[in-house]
């Protein structure tokens, strides 16, 4: 029922039926205004439930918003703002909210107590995963995900400030105003759509004006300060190290992301998060229409919505009286005020029952009456809304995020924060146990002024006049008597469950939480935790401080993974790196494969080719018989310069680079400090103090880091600098007997194989562009790598490919590259996989004993030079038509293929069109001593079992004449 003319309205739907709402109000307010009290079904017993609170702590009124891929479950109807066309659905009910089939669970409740599934579904064990768990999960629960990818946009952002004020109630507003006026760089974040906190929900004056008018005035002043940033609809979700705070913003602008997850870095912060009201445990205290008293007041005062026509109030503290007074003043009938305290003096024109309590309630889908036991007897009161108040709990949550433990204050029967629980965070107002407006205003201002002065600003405290009334409470937790009394409404935990937990010796509050599930789920027990531990304390005969609280952890409100991981989907998770030849390659219909973040062509199919092998074999032929072109830009390139550049390379490579002549290239091997091979590559000397080295594609980042480590950490005495230039140069391999002929079609000055002998390097002109030419070979053929600044890469690639085709060649991809290098026994990260040494690879001779290098000392450990180690060999298939496969294991010819007999494994394998047989590279125990032996190769995964001959790993042109020619 609305208490005032709503003015402009919008229409949304609830379970398909249109509902009128006022812009800015939460869905729960609009539903109450339309007389809808039943908003959902409970988690376990499918009990009818209505809204209980007016904030993000809401345990009952969880709804699903939208449908299809945009469906978003478990949204609190107390936070979700109404808008035109919004589709809202109730949860956990079938076939309908009014007639829910699983409401039968409520009748079965004697069998469904805490931990029932641990005891009930014990046998047979295999049924748990297949039957019991799926059934329980379907029956219990909250909203569901659509299972479809959502197109909604989420964002993440970073912000920095001197002072973060968390919460914009009276304390927060005064803190922001005081610090803002002093010139402090302030962020004021509040989770509500409108700032003001309880001042928007109470009937009281501040500075001689209605509180809401004072709030509007302060907000106008704050907006006028350039050093103050207001962040409404933003919940600070966690406090982390070094003054970092997580915050979730519900962005309310057309076309903007749905939510933005902020990481706010603040020199200091003030927590002004207020307090949350707690319920009282009495029988059937969960019916729709039973709400927290402060929430009832908020609906009336702020949104002009009466949650009922005949309201009763039940409490143990002065604040409950305020609800009765405000409602009566708004013209709502108060059917009774029940105060549990026997000695309270109240004069009011509605019935007051002191020393009373609610002992029963009635009304299946909504409250219809309550039974009150009081000093004068028992009475049944007809009522459609019961406002309850068990007292207020300061919102200490954020102060506990770094192991802080709150302390109990008997006078207000609540936990308050321990000072300095979060470095740099101060606490002010209701969350510090101050429950009157004047005190909140003063504490907010004073705390902020002290922080401002600490930060070097001059701050003044000017306080408005406001209400100061004492808060008095007599603790009241559970009303004695029979019946189920809910403690945790969201998880359907009653006092019986807590009693069962205590009875079964789960007496620690942390055990009780896990056994009963109290305080789990989206609301994290915001309204139930203190009540639950008080009940446990009573049951176990301990006090509340001894019982203690469970640990509050971030986030304060649920944060969607979509928001927290915003920007990390798809290409945001794994960006793509494209070679300059990418478009030309894709246009040639080459299938691309991933190599780290890069995409490289597998092969370049020609018309009529039906298998990759056909294309691959043809491309191998290009390099062996004519000329092939391959983009090798993905290999890491590192520029090394400085007077000690050569000395640095001597230190990182096993072999000597300082003796390398200018204009020459040398193969090099790098070890990790533990003696295992890290990477291989080439070093080219372009000048006395200038080298450019290459790394494998996979290890480019690792080698760069390693080079920086070597130069900065291990050898800061060396005057040398390293710089990654991988992206600056496009580099193409040109391989085959006609390589030099092809190059001469693009080079400004003709070259000959004699002028550019094997392992020469230097500068060349290509169409007027200065490039680099290296005569190096990864194919065993006469081969060059030609490099140009990346912006000329695509053009050069197209030219090289076009010219190669006129010479009987063409481009080749990764498959052919792999075959070419296996035929030559050249290594990749299939062999350099981090567990092999130079000794294993047959490269022990490359580790110079004449100088120190990274890994040299450890590489000489006896275990790393044991001849019995698995060492590199070649394998040649001996059975006609039987292939070799990478990953297969090796066994003695007549041995059983079991782990105990394992002799080694295959790292690379291919069909060699050059030699017309299957080849492999493998690591085999005592390998080099077993050339000529026939062994058994078994690949259990692919079902291959065949024989192979062990041989030298260089299968083709072992003398290397072709590369040198």
């Amino acid at each position: 029922m609305r208490l005032r003319n709503p003015g402009q309205t919008v229409t949304f739907t609830f379970d398909g039926k249109p509902v009128q709402g006022v812009p800015g109000e939460p869905v729960a307010a609009a539903l109450l205004a339309n007389g809808i009290r039943l908003m959902g079904r409970s988690f376990k017993y499918h009990r009818p439930r209505g809204v209980m609170t007016a904030g993000s702590e809401e345990p009952n009124a969880l709804v699903t918003v939208g449908r299809g891929a945009a469906q978003d479950p478990n949204i609190r109807a107390t936070v979700l703002e109404v808008s035109d066309g919004l589709e809202v659905f109730s949860q956990n009910a079938w076939p309908s909210l009014r007639h829910d089939a699983l409401a039968v669970n409520d009748l079965l409740s004697p069998f469904l107590g805490a931990g029932f599934y641990y005891k009930t579904f014990m046998w047979p064990a295999s049924f748990w995963e297949k039957l019991y768990e799926p059934v329980i999960r379907r029956a219990a629960g909250l909203g569901r995900l659509s299972g479809q990818a959502s197109a909604d946009c989420y964002e993440k952002a970073f912000a920095f400030c001197d002072l973060l004020v968390i919460g914009a109630g009276p304390a927060g507003l005064m803190a922001a105003l005081t610090a803002g006026r002093a010139g402090v760089d302030v962020i004021l974040a509040d989770e509500d759509s409108a700032m003001g906190g309880r001042l928007l929900r109470e009937v009281e004056d501040v500075d001689g004006r209605p509180a809401a008018a004072w709030v509007a005035d302060v907000l106008a002043q704050l907006r006028a300060l350039p050093n103050v940033r207001l962040m409404p609809r933003t919940t600070v979700t966690g406090a982390y190290d070094q003054g970092t705070y997580g915050a979730l913003e519900r962005v309310a602008a057309a076309g903007a992301p749905v939510e933005c997850f902020w990481r706010i870095v603040a020199k200091r912060s003030v927590l002004c998060a207020g307090a949350l009201e707690r319920p009282i445990a009495f029988p059937d205290n969960d019916r729709p229409g039973i709400m927290l008293a402060g929430a009832v007041r908020a609906y009336v005062n702020r949104w002009g919505v009466a949650p009922g026509r005949s309201v009763t109030v039940f409490g143990n503290n002065d604040d409950a009286h305020r609800t009765a007074r405000d409602l009566a003043a708004a013209g709502i009938k108060i059917a009774g005020l029940i105060d549990a305290r026997p000695d309270v003096q109240v004069t009011a024109d509605y019935p007051v029952f002191t020393g009373g309590s609610v002992t029963a309630t009635a009304g299946r889908r909504g409250l219809s009456s309550i039974t009150v036991a009081h000093q004068g007897g028992t009475r049944v009161i007809q009522t459609d809304c019961l406002a309850i108040s068990g007292g207020w709990n300061p919102s200490v949550h954020l102060t506990c995020h770094m192991n802080g433990r709150p302390r109990w204050r008997d006078d207000i029967a609540a936990f308050v924060p321990t000072p300095d629980a979060i470095p740099g965070m101060a606490v002010a107002g209701a969350c510090n146990g101050v429950f009157e407006t004047a005190g909140c205003l003063r504490e907010g201002a004073e705390v902020a002024a002290a922080i401002a002065r600490d930060l070097g600003f001059t701050a003044e405290v000017t306080l408005p006049v406001a209400e100061a009334r004492a808060y008095a409470i007599a603790p009241l937790w559970e009303i004695p008597g029979k019946g189920r009394k809910w403690v945790d409404f969201q998880n359907d935990v009653t006092t019986k469950d807590i009693a069962l937990s205590a009875q079964e010796n789960m007496r620690s509050v942390e055990h009780m939480k896990r056994y009963t599930t109290q305080g789990m789920a989206p609301d994290q027990g915001k309204s139930s935790n203190v009540l639950a531990l008080a009940v446990l304390a009573d049951l176990t005969g301990r006090g509340i401080p001894e019982t203690g609280t469970t640990t509050f952890r971030p986030p304060f409100v649920p944060v969607g993974i979509a928001a927290m991981g915003a920007g990390g989907q798809g290409k945001g998770f794994a960006p793509t790196r494209l070679m300059t030849s990418h478009h030309a390659t894709v246009a040639a219909r080459a299938p691309m494969i991933e190599a780290g973040l890069w995409y490289r062509p597998s092969y370049f199919p020609l018309e009529g080719e039906v298998s990759w092998r056909q294309s691959c074999d043809r491309e191998v032929g290009y390099a062996r018989n004519a000329v092939g072109v391959c983009d090798v830009s993905t290999l890491g390139k590192i520029d090394v310069q400085g007077p000690d550049a050569a000395a640095l390379l001597d230190f990182v490579y096993t072999n000597r680079m300082s003796t390398l002549k200018m204009g020459r290239v040398r193969y090099g091997l790098m070890l990790r400090e533990d003696g295992f091979v890290m990477d291989d590559g080439t070093a080219a000397r372009l000048g006395p103090d200038h080298f450019v080295i290459t790394t494998t594609t996979a290890a480019a980042g690792q080698v760069m880091r390693h080079m920086e480590f070597a130069s900065q950490v291990l050898r800061p005495d060396l005057d040398a600098r390293v710089l990654s230039v991988t992206d600056h140069w496009a580099q193409f391999a040109v391989a085959g007997p006609r390589a030099q002929v092809l190059l001469n079609t693009v080079l400004d000055d003709q070259i000959s194989n004699e002028d550019w002998p094997f392992m020469a390097c230097g500068t060349v002109g290509i169409g007027g562009v200065t490039g680099r030419l290296f005569r190096i070979s990864f194919s065993g053929e006469t081969a060059f790598e030609i490099a140009v600044p990346a912006r000329y890469g695509e053009s050069l690639f197209r030219q090289l490919v076009a010219q190669a085709r006129t010479l009987g060649g063409g481009p080749y991809g990764m498959e052919a590259l792999n075959v070419l290098r296996i035929e030559k026994g050249l290594l990749t990260h299939a062999e350099l996989h981090g567990r092999t040494t130079a000794f294993d690879l047959g490269l022990a001779g490359m580790v110079s004993a004449q100088k120190d290098c990274i890994g040299q000392a450890a590489a000489s450990r006896p275990g790393l030079v044991d001849p019995a180690r698995e060492r590199l060999v070649g394998l040649r298939a001996v059975e006609e038509g039987r292939r070799l496969t990478a990953g297969a294991h090796l066994f003695a010819k007549d041995a059983k293929a079991v782990t105990a007999n394992d002799q080694g494994y295959v790292t690379s394998a291919c069909y060699s069109p050059t030699l017309d047989c299957y080849l492999g590279l493998a690591f085999l125990k005592n390998g080099p001593d077993r050339h000529g032996e026939v062994i058994r190769m078994v690949d259990h995964l692919r079902g291959v079992d065949t024989l192979a001959e062990v041989c030298h790993p260089v299968f083709f042109d072992p003398e290397g004449g072709r590369a040198r020619g």
């Binding site: 070094q242 880091r705 480590f709 900065q712 950490v713």
Partner: protein, 87 residues
């Protein structure tokens, strides 16, 4: 977590690559013997308290940095270029 890069100022930890204890600064001589090398390569303390770690400002200037911090409070006490710490 933020780390003060001596070159770039206070930066988010996502810009850094972590390698471990700064013991790496004290590389033994090549002939220091198996025990010294075993310690250097493999043995690390796991203190509840102050540590010195090596971090690499990979998403920034490329500096290797010695970070003195506390594993219990997560406080970062000070940072220093490894280059200076080593020499």
């Amino acid at each position: 977590m933020r780390i003060e890069c001596p070159h770039c100022g206070e930066r988010d930890r996502r810009e850094f690559y972590y390698v471990g204890d700064a013991v790496a600064l004290a590389r033994p001589a090549p002939d220091a013997g198996p025990d010294a090398w075993d310690d250097y390569l493999h043995n690390r303390d796991n203190p509840a308290g102050d540590t010195n770690d090596l971090w690499y400002h990979e998403g920034g200037c490329g500096a290797w940095i010695v970070v003195s911090r506390n594993t219990v409070t997560h406080a970062v006490h000070r940072t220093k270029l490894a280059q200076k710490a080593a020499s």
